[in-house]
Subunit: 521 residues, 2 copies
């Protein structure tokens, strides 16, 4: 993937055409949702207008790095530094769009081999340079630190991107950690296999980032998260190369590059599915949808994806799809039918997806249909291919950011018995925090919740929220809203994981005694 | 469970009647198997004949312990110290039977509450007493250390044995870690739930021991191991009480009490099955059995247990069951039929077990039948209830030890593509080591292998071996045989987990800086 063709302050390719920008009927509808008179254009600051902090890499360090990776793989031009300044969380994007590049690394180093990574880390420890491991840069946790370092370098491993081995008998594959989602799945598919980790950032994120960031895949009901599919990893640290298999493997998941650079990962893979299928359902309310999803999880029905939207998310996306459309007779009749059947404003939508052998898929569909029927749902056909919508959100976010609108999401998990109380607490916290920060009297946000991947014991809860930005201080506004949600999550969950923090500190000391690895994460 | 009614140097209740002892036809058959002229009685040394090292607990420390748990819960009588001297591995039993109680703790402390455990650990750290956490004492890793400690106390948590909470909606239960297998399953069953962790030591081992020892349950195909069913734990350490949830939870599994005392565990449980079923199969050889088990695992057929014996194990247990019986016409006809069908001396037996809802069990049986048929197996009814044989091995071992015969087992795991080469290497190492150590020319051992719980990627391999003991140095003999197997496993597996050792050392320092917890483990 050619990095220079990507956006440094947004999602995807610079050449990507934002088709939403011109659909004024959508913006009019959204302005109404947010109780704003209009949504004006708020373009990001272009790179030419932005200042970077002066690079702090000494000529000697630059030469030493060039001696390891080659002179053309130590870059400090404006685009490279800007591209690697931050991740692509909403807070990151608001910061970048405002032209704040204060967290830029002094240089970007792009190794091609594990030996080069090791040599760079040894050099960094010796010369006290901070190292920020960088995969796709789609998450957060990739800012350069302020502090007692001679320089900060982004170590971009996205060119270590090969599938190295596949054991078809044991269904295990090994790949370099810089491989991006589509390239990994393509290489596996060529041999009849798949991994199935599909975060929203799938197109641009890397295998190593999926591990270090511990993101949730949308098809995790079947294909799991890193803790399920990661068999072992190779970790380069300032103290040398480690095979991460037992506890160190577990610690790498979510480590944000603070223990070392994941250079290779060995994965449990699966045979490509023979058939796939999808279906949508409508429940009278969120609670009956939750009960159905729980029953399906506890009956171990092998769904690939069950995504249950609350009433607000169901209503919002329906409104989005209908924006500007005249309400035809069929739509009016359908509405009347749904009202008559009791599917009013509390109705909650569910999308279910199935993949596998023909027999197991047809069984799963039948078993699942019986469960949703018990909970009173209506069933609908889905025509749109799943992957068309699965990776859409980060593009939509850019469109919204260009029109003065904030868009962010936060995720947590709760046991089934606590799910509804956690949902209520976080939703309430988000609504209050947005109400306290809107740029004009009467304006409001839209807070949507959904149940994502689940197990027999617990489920993921994802909150997506859209709000009118207070343009003069939108970074602080977005941070305050997110913090309110995180505080609500912390208050409704178990106490802080003090022991986990102790363990991580002890391990960090053992692997990176000088503390050069991602100090700002 | 009343500890004073258990054997201090063997398995189970002292009152347990060894029905095998008098079956001379079995001993004659086994002597033939081992090429020994006869198997003479080799009784263990009785407790009255055995000397214990003098207790090193000072009067002051004893009073301080008594102030925490009560005076009757600090014991140092001969039986208590002998009972807690070692675990119940074969090496432990040979040592105990020879009257070697040099690893006895100076006292046994039996707390009833987490606060008492914490206070004992704080006192131990202050006064530099070693603490050996003790659950059921059925594994290994419970010997008192030699070294710079003022005393060594066994901290027996078997009276912390209550089910504390059950969340039926989330299918999560919390229990004190000293609860033994049968009591835990009984308490869960009273509420309609089960855990399903059935190691051979199930009857006498505890929940905390299952975690700290990371044992394999025989029904792990469905019910998993600690890494699957443990949601979180409470850990008492010299530095205080920790909620072990993230990496610390993972580190506790297999920790042998070296990080602290597990006082409570929160478990993912399941609804009791509605139906259960069992079936036996005979394959022409081990390799076709392995292929069938692998196909079943990779097709995700929800079996509870698939236990595939190699030809030697199949032959040995058939011989055991037929010992002394005249071969009737039916048996001779069956033998002729099997020979004719190609099931000769390489034939390998498989037992499969299914549990769950009626529909899912009947589907699983049907799907599994199709797979074994593809691999050319014959199918047989099984009449004996599974649990009758599941916990039989440790009793059999005592019977064998009483007749000059050694019995031990060793377990490893291998990916499917390496399974047969690991199997061959370990089997060969065991046979050579036994041949090098038999007490008389021409005598031999029996080395049996089987495939235990498996996943889509790998399977457990269990080797059970029976050998004539060199009575004058049988501890060394048994240790040498086991070491040969472990060396073969190490040579055929990945390199030592150096990083894991570093991580564990760092965590140990953080939680137990004085190093008082189980120093000999």
């Amino acid at each position: 993937m050619d990095r220079t063709k990507l956006r440094w302050n947004g999602w995807g390719f610079a050449a990507h055409k934002d088709e939403l920008a011109a659909r004024e009927e959508v913006w009019a509808w959204l302005a109404g949702e947010l109780r704003m008179p209009a949504l004006l254009a708020t373009p990001a600051r272009p790179l030419e207008d932005v200042e970077l902090p002066p690079g702090a890499l000494s000529a000697g360090d630059r030469m030493a790095l060039a001696a390891i990776v080659g002179v053309d793989r130590v870059r400090d031009d404006k685009f490279e530094r800007a591209f690697h300044t931050r991740g692509r969380s909403t807070l990151d994007l608001l910061t970048l769009r405002a032209g704040d590049l204060s967290a830029a690394p002094d240089a970007v180093v792009t190794p091609r081999a594990t030996e080069e990574v090791l040599a760079v880390l040894a050099l960094a420890a010796e010369r006290e340079m901070a190292v920020i491991p960088f995969g796709g840069g789609t998450g957060d946790g990739v800012a350069a630190p302020r502090g007692p370092f001679s320089a900060a370098i982004a170590l971009d491993i996205s060119q270590m991107d090969r599938l190295l081995a596949l054991d078809p008998v044991s269904q295990i594959a090994t790949a370099q950690a810089g491989i991006a989602g589509p390239a990994l799945e393509k290489a596996l598919a060529a041999k009849g296999f798949m991994l199935g980790h599909y975060p929203e950032a799938f197109e641009f994120s890397t295998l190593g980032g999926w591990i270090a960031g511990d993101g949730t895949g949308q098809a995790a009901n079947r294909y799991g998260s890193a803790k399920d599919w990661l068999a072992s990893a190779q970790l380069a640290t300032p103290r040398g190369l480690f095979a991460a298999e037992g506890p160190l493997k577990d610690l790498l998941i979510g480590s944000q590059g603070r223990f070392g650079v994941i250079t290779e990962a060995t994965l449990r893979v699966r045979r490509l599915p023979v058939v796939t299928g999808q279906r949508a359902y409508l429940f009278r309310d969120f609670a009956s949808g939750i009960a159905a999803v729980r029953d399906a999880a506890q009956a171990e029905i092998p769904t690939v994806l069950l995504r249950l939207s609350d009433a607000e998310e169901t209503r919002f996306w329906h409104g989005y799809s209908q924006a500007g459309k005249a309400k035809g007779l069929a739509a009016r009749l359908m509405r009347r039918y749904l009202d008559w059947r009791g599917f009013g404003e509390k109705a909650s939508g569910l999308v279910a997806r199935f993949e596998g052998e023909a027999t197991s898929v047809s069984r799963a569909r039948r078993d699942f249909a019986a469960i949703v029927k018990k909970h009173g749902a209506l069933s609908f056909r889905v025509d749109e291919p799943w992957k068309k919508s699965a990776f859409f959100a980060p593009y939509l976010r850019d469109s919204l950011l260009d029109r003065g609108v904030g868009y962010d999401a936060i995720e947590t998990a709760a046991s089934w018995s606590k799910l509804e109380s956690v949902y209520g607490a976080v939703q309430g916290a988000l609504e209050s925090a947005i109400a306290a920060s809107v740029p004009r009297e009467g304006a409001k946000g839209v807070v949507m919740g959904r149940v994502g991947p689940s197990t027999a014991n617990c489920a993921n809860l994802v909150f997506t929220y859209v709000f009118p930005r207070a343009l003069k201080n939108d970074v602080e506004q977005a941070a305050a809203i997110k913090k309110a949600a995180m505080d609500a999550i912390a208050a409704s969950g178990p106490a802080t994981d003090r022991a986990g923090a102790d363990v991580r500190r002890a391990v960090k000391m053992a692997l990176d005694p000088k503390g050069v690895l991602n100090p700002a994460a």
